[in-house]
């Protein structure tokens, strides 16, 4: 039926669509439905006036007000933001340095291994990382006697680094080396080259990396579950505890706010990524 050129095919009634495969678009829509339907239900019932999470009665903000006034939630949200913010700052700085070293210096022995070590948390199941972190910190705790929220922050920093590292490195690799070379030619000392040329150019990558690190830290459950001490309940841990006790629209309300925050951050990252090209 298909002829050697498109024109005869057209003459036979319809042009053949090269890219078409039967049923694929339906499956794509199904995927979107599968990915979004549960979230839609969750958001919808956070506005339900009734206690039930499945029978709709009336629109209201009651559960949001309740969640806002809940001391536990407020504390957990504060811990989450604090940990995520500090972890983001440290992880971004370290990832930036790592990215500079792995792209701007002459390849040295073991560099591939260094990259592997940086990215290792991405390839290991999270539970294993969590176990490793827990044992590691337990030993340090035993040796030094120091305890506190520092461990939780350190753990978050550690697993945020690869997420911050990826976009920064990608940005550095895309950048034109000749600009830095030109600056050096014009007698700029290395630090000035970095501050006036390299850093401004890599800023979008750093921003994206920082936001990714922030989201990843904010979302983490498993590693926090293992490492967090008493009084260090983050928002996801709080939600997990609530879910285990039973479902309430209050959890829906908190989750919706949480989701909204993630979506806003992801949108920002997406726009940053697009602006680059």
């Amino acid at each position: 039926m298909v002829d050697s050129t498109a024109a005869p095919a057209k003459k036979m009634g319809k042009a053949i669509d090269l890219k078409y495969q039967p049923g694929f678009s339906q499956i794509a829509w199904l995927c979107i439905a599968v990915l979004y339907a549960p979230i839609a239900v969750l958001v919808l019932f956070s506005f339900n006036q009734n206690r039930s999470v499945t029978v709709w009665t009336e629109f209201s903000f009651d559960w949001y007000v309740k969640a806002m006034n809940n001391e536990g939630i407020r504390h957990a949200a504060w811990v989450s933001l604090e940990v995520a913010f500090i972890a983001m700052v440290i992880a971004t700085i370290m990832a930036t340095m790592a990215a500079l070293v792995t792209t701007r210096t002459a390849p040295y022995r073991g560099m591939n291994m260094a990259v592997g070590v940086i990215n290792q948390p991405l390839m290991v199941p999270e539970v294993v990382t969590a176990v490793a972190t827990l044992i590691f910190f337990a030993i340090i705790k035993q040796l030094t006697g120091v305890s506190g929220i520092g461990y939780l922050i350190a753990a978050h920093t550690a697993f945020c680094i690869p997420f911050a590292y990826m976009p920064i490195r990608a940005r550095l690799e895309d950048m034109d080396l000749s600009l830095e070379q030109a600056a050096a030619d014009l007698y700029a000392p290395p630090f000035k080259v970095f501050r006036r040329v390299t850093l401004p150019l890599m800023l979008p990558g750093i921003m994206a990396g920082a936001m990714l690190a922030f989201i990843v830290s904010l979302d983490d459950v498993i590693i926090t579950l293992f490492v967090a001490g008493p009084g260090e309940t983050t928002l996801p841990l709080y939600i997990l505890g609530q879910i285990r006790r039973g479902v309430t629209p209050e959890v829906n309300a908190v989750s919706t706010v949480f989701l909204g925050l993630s979506v806003i951050l992801v949108t920002f990252i997406f726009l940053f990524g697009k602006g680059k090209k």
Binding site: V2, S4, L18, K19, Q21, P22, G23, F24, S25, I27, A28, L30, C31, I32, V34, L35, Y36, P38, I39, V41, L42, F45, S52, T54, V55, M123, V124, P125, E126, V127, V128, V131, A132, T133, I135, F136, A138, I139, Q142, L212, I215, L218, D219, V221, I222, L225, F226, P236, I239, L240, I243, V247, S255, F258, L259, S262, V263, T267, I269, F270
Partner: protein, 272 residues
Amino acid sequence: MPLSIVLVYSFLEPGDFGGVSWVMSFDAYVQLLFEEDIFDETLSFSTDYLEIFLRSISLGLFTTIACLLLGFPTAYFIATQPPARRNAWLFMITIPFWTNLLIRTYAMLLILRDQGVINLSLIEIGLIDRAIPILYTDFAVCLGLVYAYLPFMVLPIFASLEKLDFRLVEASYDLYATRFKVLKRIIIPLAKPGIAAGCILVLIPSLGAYITPALLGGGKSLMIGNLIELQFGQARNWPFGSAIAMVLMVIVMLSLMAYLNFGAKKRAPGHG
């Protein structure tokens, strides 16, 4: 470095009050396969833990296959869209990728519950009289895993399909290939690196999944992740937990090696 500590720990004995005592032993690994009789301390072969491992692996594989069946057509569909719409679709896929897994799993729980949306609407239209239990089954866990890791499959496949040269597709149609044949002989082989990457990205986190089986599987569908957490939490048997974590790592390493092997074969001459 922390990983090697886990390795060391897995060969120690549990301390009396949690933690470990520094005695070398293989007990933790023995415990995986055998059950110690409390009276005469003889060992008998036990499949309890093995069963959890097998369940994790089979659920992981099943999830991977389901993700592939859903993800490949989706990725292909996105790759064939005009650029503006392509970006919108990618954005739609990326958002769940970065939103909180716990919250998404909770949303799934709301839907699958006995009083959840699925059951209630089925009752409403009179298809069933009483709620069919979906939650706390292997099926629910699998569904949750597919839901959680689908983006991991779509994105790498999309990345490899994006570069697909559609002149090859055109040429094969010219040579009287059917749509299915084009798919099987041209598109899928060219997308293979993406498919392999997607599979590994879905398989690894599914194997170690914790939240999904904990919320959707209840006590009945334990997976490796939950078993490890139990050992470090309630059971306070750190060496045993470490041993399980090490076995999990070995499984992950094996699948990674299979993946790398696959990549190496692809690059070998004569297969280009």
